[in-house]
């Protein structure tokens, strides 16, 4: 992925194999956005139509739909920005469209690996892997993984953390 300024967050593809979250994460985000948009449009239309402003209500509802379509494009870009790469000594996580971030966490620094799944994530069969180090500011989070991939990553990270443990 090359940004507008020509600076690549990603090193040479030959040495780094980047993986991305499941496509279902994008579906999940789209459904979330869609449900929120439908509720917002219906509420705006109902509130205005009840006061006799049917035309204004229609315009508002249409505006919500337009915003949703634009938001959907952003969701696609945001989904594609997520990526993680397991190198020999550290894990790379990249994310963000407006605020682009790249995080490097050495395996030896991992204190624990959390696998979580919220109510919405569970309906889509997805899980989030979170890495914790002794630093409060380390937020290496990989959302939208399919259960078998989450389990594989968790076990691999735990094993690597064990063999390369460096203490504090």
């Amino acid at each position: 992925m090359v940004t507008e300024t020509g600076t690549s967050l990603v090193g040479s593809p030959a040495e780094e194999r980047w993986l991305s979250p499941s496509r279902r994460l994008l579906t999940m985000r789209r459904v979330e956005l869609g449900v929120a948009a439908v509720i917002a449009a219906a509420a705006a239309f109902a509130a205005l139509a009840a006061n006799g402003l049917v035309v204004l209500g229609g315009i508002c509802a249409a505006a919500v739909v337009v915003l949703t379509v634009l938001g959907d494009r952003l969701l696609g870009r945001r989904y594609r920005s997520w990526g993680y790469c397991e190198r020999s000594a550290d894990l790379l996580v990249r994310r963000g469209v407006m605020f682009q971030r790249l995080t490097v966490v050495p395996y030896g620094r991992m204190q624990l690996v959390d696998v979580t799944a919220g109510a919405i994530e569970r309906t889509f069969g997805l899980q989030t892997v979170v890495l914790h180090t002794a630093a409060a500011a380390t937020d290496a989070r990989i959302p939208g993984l399919q259960p078998d991939e989450a389990t594989r990553l968790r076990d691999r990270l735990a094993a690597l953390g064990e063999t390369q443990a460096a203490g504090i």
């Binding site: 300024t5 550290d90 490097v104 204190q111 500011a137």
Partner: protein
């Protein structure tokens, strides 16, 4: 006794006396006496049932009358042996010996309340045993490094922004009151009182702070009422801060703080607590440099400044932005009026971050950050050239791995 006494007496006293006074209408002193006596007896019992012994290379401490708790510490795991004297204990000529261990599990062992001379003897013996020497080995001589000037400590605290703004605000209130007989924003006064009393506590904690050097690390002795004598092994230090508030810079004063890998994690599976401590509450550059060179083997690293187009992003702090690393230590400066210098040994880095927001992207800039254990512990290359910043991430990744490997090899050698 002292520890248990305070909490129990405080709680029971307030509840009991309030209850009784509301019933009889006048204070009833013998109830107070009974409550104090109960607290004292409970304290004495808890002290009497605490026993400890050294069996070969293991220190065993057992406490508790009803629920016995036994802590066993292998002496080879002991990182430091500290002496703590809360003010009440000091009045009674008592001290607590606190044995700190490194690594996961375990935790601290507290030998609560021995006489001061006995506590010192115990401390010396434990340190010797921890180093695999016979318990009768005399204490290693330590060499004084720096001692804080108490007058300067008070004076410099008065010259911080917090105190000066409080004084200005109170002055304004007095003037307003004499002219208009009104008080504005009185809740601010309360906030100020709280913040000033916190500063007062800090002065009391850092009163007469003296640092000396010993074979097992820096020894710090400090405190006005309660006194603490602790040893800081250099490898427990995660990060350092150097602070220079606006008014201090005219006098060349600075404050040096350290973040230490603390004792026990609050819960299992949680990052271990990191404590922040002043090593030099206020002092001049030579004193600060002396401490830095003892802890890091250098007084600083060569810093570079970001490209001037970064001024657009941070117009008020750009003059202080600089950062650099020499393969072992990373250092950066920032701040608007006060200058703040952050230092992290690369061997202690927990993760490396590259961040680029929309403004920085438009300016072809990015920020690189290395983070150590604890809160607010990071060295940042703020507003760096985006291309350089991306290269820096790879450079730092390699440098941190090398520094970590070296540190690990040192620890393994020390264990043998």
């Amino acid at each position: 006794m002292v520890r248990l006494g305070r909490a129990v007496i405080g709680l029971v006293y307030i509840a009991g006396s309030a209850l009784l006074q509301s019933r009889s209408g006048h204070p009833n002193y013998w109830v107070d006496a009974v409550i104090v006596a109960v607290g004292v007896v409970a304290g004495v019992i808890s002290w009497a049932v605490t026993t400890w012994s050294v069996d070969g290379s293991i220190l065993q401490v057992s406490t508790g009358l009803i629920r016995r708790k036994v802590v066993r510490l292998p002496l080879s795991r002991v990182q430091a042996v500290d002496l703590v004297e809360p003010w009440l204990a000091r009045v009674l000529g008592l001290a607590e010996v606190r044995v700190r261990t490194g690594g996961g599990g375990g935790g601290d062992a507290r030998l609560q309340y021995l006489s001061v001379s006995h506590a010192q003897a115990v401390r010396t013996a434990l340190v010797a045993l921890a180093h695999g020497l016979p318990g009768s080995t005399p204490e290693a001589v330590d060499r004084p490094l720096v001692k804080v000037d108490n007058g300067l400590l008070v004076l410099s605290t008065l010259l911080t922004g917090r105190v000066l703004s409080s004084v200005a605000f109170v002055g304004l209130e007095v003037v307003l009151f004499t002219i208009h007989q009104t008080v504005v924003a009185s809740s601010l006064l309360l906030y100020m009182f709280a913040s000033l009393s916190a500063l007062g506590r800090r002065i009391a904690n850092e009163w007469g702070l003296a640092v000396s050097e010993s074979p097992d690390g820096l020894r710090v002795k400090t405190g006005l009422g309660s006194r603490v004598r602790e040893t800081i092994p250099p490898n427990r230090i995660q990060a350092l801060h150097q602070l220079e508030p606006l008014f201090w810079r005219a006098f060349g004063w600075q404050r040096l703080e350290i973040h230490l890998a603390g004792g026990v994690a609050r819960r299992r599976n949680q990052p271990r607590a990191v404590v922040r401590r002043a090593l030099l509450p206020v002092g001049h550059r030579p004193e600060c440099d002396l401490l830095l060179s003892r802890l890091l083997g250098r007084t600083g690293v060569a810093l570079t400044t970001p490209p001037s187009r970064g001024r657009v992003r941070s117009p008020f702090s750009f003059h202080f932005l600089a950062a650099g690393h020499d393969g072992w230590v990373a250092m950066s400066t920032s701040g608007r009026l006060s200058r703040r210098t952050e230092i992290i040994p690369l061997a202690k880095v927990q993760s490396i971050h590259y961040v680029q927001g929309p403004i920085l992207r438009a300016l072809r800039l990015a920020t690189v950050r290395v983070v150590a254990a604890g809160r607010d512990t990071s060295v940042s290359w703020r507003q760096w050239d985006a291309f350089e910043a991306r290269k820096l991430v790879d450079e730092l990744t390699a440098a941190c791995a090398a520094a970590r490997q070296y540190d690990l090899a040192q620890v393994v050698r020390a264990d043998k």
